[in-house]
Each structure stands twice: as structure tokens, then as C-alpha cells.
Symmetry: C2
Subunit: 438 residues, 2 copies
Amino acid sequence: MRKTRQDGISIQQVAGNGLLDRRALLSRGVMLAGAMGAGAAGSLTGAAAEPLAEAPWSLAPGGGVAPYQHASRFEEKVVRTVDNPNNEPSGTRARTPHHLLRGMITPNGLHFTIMHSGIPDIDPAQHKLVIHGMVRQPLVFTPETLSRYSMVSRIGFTECGGNSAPLFSNEPIQADVQALHGLSSCAEWTGVPLAALLDEAGVDPKAKWIIAEGADATHLSRSVPLAKVMDDAMVAMYQNGERIQPGQGYPMRLWLPGYEGNMNVKFLRRVQVTDKPVMTYFESKIYSDPLPDGKATQFYFVQEVKSFITSPSPGLTLKEPGVYEISGVAYAGTGRIAKVMVSADGGKSWAESALQEPRLPKAFTRFCMPWRWDGGPVVLQSRAWDEAGNVQPTREQFVALRGQTTKPANVRGFPGHHFNAITSWAVDPKGEVKHVYA
Amino acid sequence: MRKTRQDGISIQQVAGNGLLDRRALLSRGVMLAGAMGAGAAGSLTGAAAEPLAEAPWSLAPGGGVAPYQHASRFEEKVVRTVDNPNNEPSGTRARTPHHLLRGMITPNGLHFTIMHSGIPDIDPAQHKLVIHGMVRQPLVFTPETLSRYSMVSRIGFTECGGNSAPLFSNEPIQADVQALHGLSSCAEWTGVPLAALLDEAGVDPKAKWIIAEGADATHLSRSVPLAKVMDDAMVAMYQNGERIQPGQGYPMRLWLPGYEGNMNVKFLRRVQVTDKPVMTYFESKIYSDPLPDGKATQFYFVQEVKSFITSPSPGLTLKEPGVYEISGVAYAGTGRIAKVMVSADGGKSWAESALQEPRLPKAFTRFCMPWRWDGGPVVLQSRAWDEAGNVQPTREQFVALRGQTTKPANVRGFPGHHFNAITSWAVDPKGEVKHVYA
């Protein structure tokens, strides 16, 4: 490994094109960003008074405090992209702006949603959840009675099975990380374990599945294996501390850690216990993907190990050579993230990134890596492993297994689901970032 | 221990007045809430069609999706209480509605704030942070240049040193948990370790303190021991994933895990490295409390181990006898919560609650406990321990050490800080909950 020296302190380059040792983040006295020059972190000498000149907001009282606070007006661009702003009868996707966020929690205002028939305005006092089918005793719950049960809290991601579908295109679509990967978010969910409710209803030993149904006009319904339900399914009522948002299924949703987003039925009104799945529209037509060999996937539930770099990413232009942080999110429906490797030379060499704690199973894990950009062309990639040893596939491996399409480039309507291969961002000498296949 | 039997399954009562074994939450087949009766979880037999009757929102498409989503209109009461709604020149407190929240994360809209001169409308393009004083090389940062540094994320609480001050009253003030304990919240903060910036500036070995100053009109400033700064201080730029809210110091704040809220200087514009504290207004007058022996506290920084029950709590009336969940938050500026004990008989008997994971140091830990209320009068209490063995004091212990006051009852202006003793809620036979001293 080549060593660079900066201001008398060595920083080890651990892989090609300027990737620096992640441990430099933790050492004392390593001047990672000192190289940024006076334009970035300049000397105060001789100009000490200037930076502390009083701005208008330092000279007069500020504004009042609202009962529910909102972001600064200078952050008004930090919103979800909504692909059906006029609420035409065609379904709506709202995508999380990953390139503008940091950490593992997605704030509730920016959590992705997909609505098939708009957001219902449900009065919780009139909403009921029915548990019936192969049970000893059918049960009915209101949000209020459900609130008396013991609740559990868990931080975890939810991802649409169609997230990243534009990467099924055989040409890289020029879009940002919000458009490409924005149908994935992470929150703290609090609710009642569905297993507790099913235990109370008394499940027939011959039962194998549940069918969950929502109260919106689509009455979206999905079959879920009973084993998953008894493991970690939750009837979620709270999201990041407050009641779940209308776009996430207020007043209650099914939440299945690590499973395909569509199965996490919102506005949950019915859980029917059965001995077989019912092959609803969403599981027979939508989420059964044709494969290159002529067969099709069926009941492909788990969102597999995945990662993508959120900064730098398309739209976040690098202004000048120097030290930056490569930052992104990794997650796996199979468990906890064990490792994320980063490459700045399109996969020729790799170095291990730093992972933020807590690393929780089936939750976003933020990874980061110090990087010195010398101004030349580079290709940034990330690749994640889970604790069971499952590894995010390369694009080549993924396409061999799942295929790709020549369908004209747009960010909607690709026929594939569960895309989890490596994403590549190319940085050109102007500092602009583009989506490429590498 | 007495055992009760319900529907053929034993649930162990582990302490007086109906506290149930926390492990019942985790066992299969224990019908905790089956005792709630038909009004709560009734039989569907003979009425299967009724609960699934189609509500209006199930029969027509719903509303559009907003770029930034908000809570349901049915949750509009879930807001902070603002004690200065007309923004008079007297400071403003906005308190977190703990009784309406669950989990460990406080959503950004509901994070508490105290503003001394209103919320400044800071243009981040014009904001600068200066590091100077006993350093080799003074430095200036903008939010943009700071964003190029490697960031860390951490979930943790922030608590005003004056939180719970009404409990210094010698008579229990009738107010809810929001009014009594609402100046404490928990979020995921992301930013640059201040140690990294100070390393780059080169701290003089003789330095012992920093002085942090904000850019709002108050120019709030506080002295912070350098050892704390080098341990875990952060210049925070993100809160629960998105840029920090104006009420929390947009575009950047000092965040000192576990330290008195006032020291977490918002709108941070200056860090001066010094060899002694400067005894600012907030540390000499406000946060130096007189003690019963005539002395006064000085530099009492750590928010010590504490807990309170959020449900049941004043305003959340129990409608009928039956099984409920006792739920609350515990935290310690000294580290991780190890244990929370709960009593339903005013401290005569105690049982250990279940703690939600992840249990993080200097962060909220949600505790919960199944409880069967028999309809009689009870007094609910919680008591927390941290991993170092520090224990939340009883009221009697606390008053002996810190005193109490006969100042007329109101929820503002009590002279004491750092109240962390046990809180007691009395439930009367009507199910109403009151604040008592027990």
C-alpha cells in the first residue's frame, strides 16, 4: 500500500484512487481535511473579526416557536419526489432523497410511500382490525383496545420490491439516487407483535399462512407465511415515536422486518389465518418476475443484502480536488450488516469502510470512508455483506441470474423486482457524478 | 409470589397491585389482554360481517401524496405545548408530549426546544464557525466545508437542566408528563466530532476548556471542559436523518451527549479554546443552584440517571379495570440504562420491567411492564439504574440533598435544576391519574 504524507502526519491510502484508511476517522491528530485549502478551512490570522461580523439574525430577536416544528426554509428542496402530483387514478410513488440525508433514521416526512388509490383519511375511532379464519376465537380490535397490549419497538428498513428497478435497464439511466433507490427508508416502528394477537385468537395447528388486507380502496391484500408472522411481524402504530403517517398506513399497518414493502399491508383491517396463500393480484401478477430461463419467481419475499453510496452521488458535484467523505447506506432483510467494502476504481481494488453503530438486524447501517479525490476520473462502488456471509452481487452476476431489459429508459414500469446489485457512480474531472455500469 | 390464573394459563404477579412478569411479554400463548372483555377484543361469531363493513375511505380513492408528509388530521393534538405563543421577549419553551409517544426516537417536529430570543432565520451560506484561542492555527468553517469532513451518527437524549423543575415544589403540581418532564427528547444526531476539528487547529497542551457561542441574538455561550469535548462532542448538522431543525440550532449545534441541554449551544458560531471557564450568565447565575447547606452547585453538567412513566399518566384515563401496559422512558447522562424497576403500590414492592433494544449509552431506553388494574387506587412509580450502578434517587433522598421550595405552584420559574428523583402517578378508582408525592 502506498502512503501519502500530509502536514507531517501519514494517512495510509488503502485502495486505488485515494481511498483512505477508515481507522483514520478514529485516530487523534490525523488532518484529513486540512488539505482542503484556504477556501475550505482558512486561516483566521489577520481576519479574525470578519467571520464573527454580526449577521442580521444575530442582532434582533428571531421568530416564534410553532407547536409542531418544521425544517428551515433553506431546506425546502429536501422533499420526496412525487410522480403523480395531481393524484390521477394511477398510483403514486414518493421517493426518499437519500443524497440529502445522513444517519440511519429516515424522518417521517421523508419516508417513501407507494399508494395505489390515494391516501385514505381514516378516522381511528371507526377503524377495526379483524382476526379470523383458522382460529379458535375470532377477534376484533380498535386502535384504542390495541393500545392496551404490550408493545415492542424496533428500528428497521422497509423497501419496495420494485426499488432500484431502473437498474434492470441494459443502459444506465441518468438519474439520481433518489430516483434510482428512493423506495427504501428506515424508521423506528412500535406496535403489538402479531404473534401475541394470534396466540390470543388460538391458531389452528394446520394453519400455514395469513392473508392481510388493507382498508384503503384498493383493499390491497397479501399472503404471508405464518412462520414469518410468528417470528417478528408487528401491527405497527408508531413511527419514529409518533403515530404512523397516513402514507405509511395510519392508524395501523402490518410491518414485516426485511420483507418486500408491498407485503407490509397498510391500513390493516383483516388478518385471515389460512392453510394456503390466495395468490392475490400483487403476488401472482406483480411480484412474480419472469426469469431468463423462462421460469418465474414466486414468493420472493426477502429484500436481500444491498448498499449504495449516497454521497457523492448524481447531483452532488465536487467543487475541487481534496478530501471528501464517501457515505452510504447498507441493509439486508436477512439480518445485520457485517461489512461494506468501497472501491474508487470501478472494482479493481477495495477497502473496508467504517460502519456506524448501532448495527441492527434488518435496519439501515450507515457506512463511511475518507477519500482524497485527485481530480481525475474515478468510479465509486460499494458492496455489502451480511453476518451470514451473503454478499451483494456484482451487476454481471445479477444480470446472469435475473436478466435485464432493453425497454426504453424511464424510472417507472421496469418489469423486474428485488434489484440488489452494486451501483456505480462515475466522477468526471469536472466533479460531476453520473450513473454508469462498471 | 401469588399466581393468578386466566383462561387456563398462569400469569405470575410479581409485585403488588397487579404487576405481571415482564417475561410474559415474550412467552407464547400467554393471554395478557384477553381479560379486557367483549368491549375490547370481542368475539366475531355471529357478527363477522359487521366489523368489515365498508367505511367511506374504503369505497373511493383517497387523497394525494405530499412531497413532505404530515401526521393525520386525527392526531393534530399531538404537538408541543408552547409557553410563549405570541413570541413576547421573554424566552419560549416547547415541550415534548411524552404521554402520546412510544419508542425511543422523538420525531423532529416534537423535539423540545428552549429559545431565549426567538428562532433566528439563518442563511447557511452566510453562517461561519470559527475555532480560535489556544490553538496553533485558527480555522473557519462554513456548513458546506464542514460537510466534507467525516461524520459520525449517534442516537442520544438532550435534556434541559431545568426539566422537571416543577417537582422542586413542596406540593405536587397537578400537570401532565409533558408539562413536568417535556424538556427532554431523544434523536439520532449526525455531525463532525469536534475533536477532529480541534486536532486540525492544534490545541495548546495547556488548554483546559472551550467556550462555545451561538449566532442567535442572545449569543448564548457556555464553557465546556476540554476533556468532554475530546471524548464525544459533536458539531451536529443532522437530526433524525434530515438537517437539524431551526429550534435545535440550524445550521449547526454543539451536541454534548448526556450534558445539560443549555450547554449544547445552538447556531454554533464560535469555539474558543481557553485554560479556564469564563463564568457566563448561564453558568454563574442560572445553572449554579443554591443548596440547603448554603453552598451552591457549580459546573453540574451531567444529566443523571432518571425515568418516568409516560403511560398511564395524567390525562390518560383508564376506562375500566383490566390489563394495560405501563410504559415509560429511562436515560442517564452517565451511560447505558441497566435496569428499570416499577412499583404499583407506591414503592412497597417492585418488579423489573422489560427494556427495549437497542439500549444505547446516553439515550432514551423505553421500558414496559404488563399490569392488571383491579380498579382500586394504586400509585405507579419507576426507578432506573445505569450500568455503573448509579440509581435514581427517591424523592426523600433528593430533597434531603437538594431541597424543595414553597414557591407558589406553577410550571415555570422554579429555582432548581437537575431534578431526577422518582415521579409518582396515583390512579384513582375512576381511572383518573394524578401527580402525587409518595
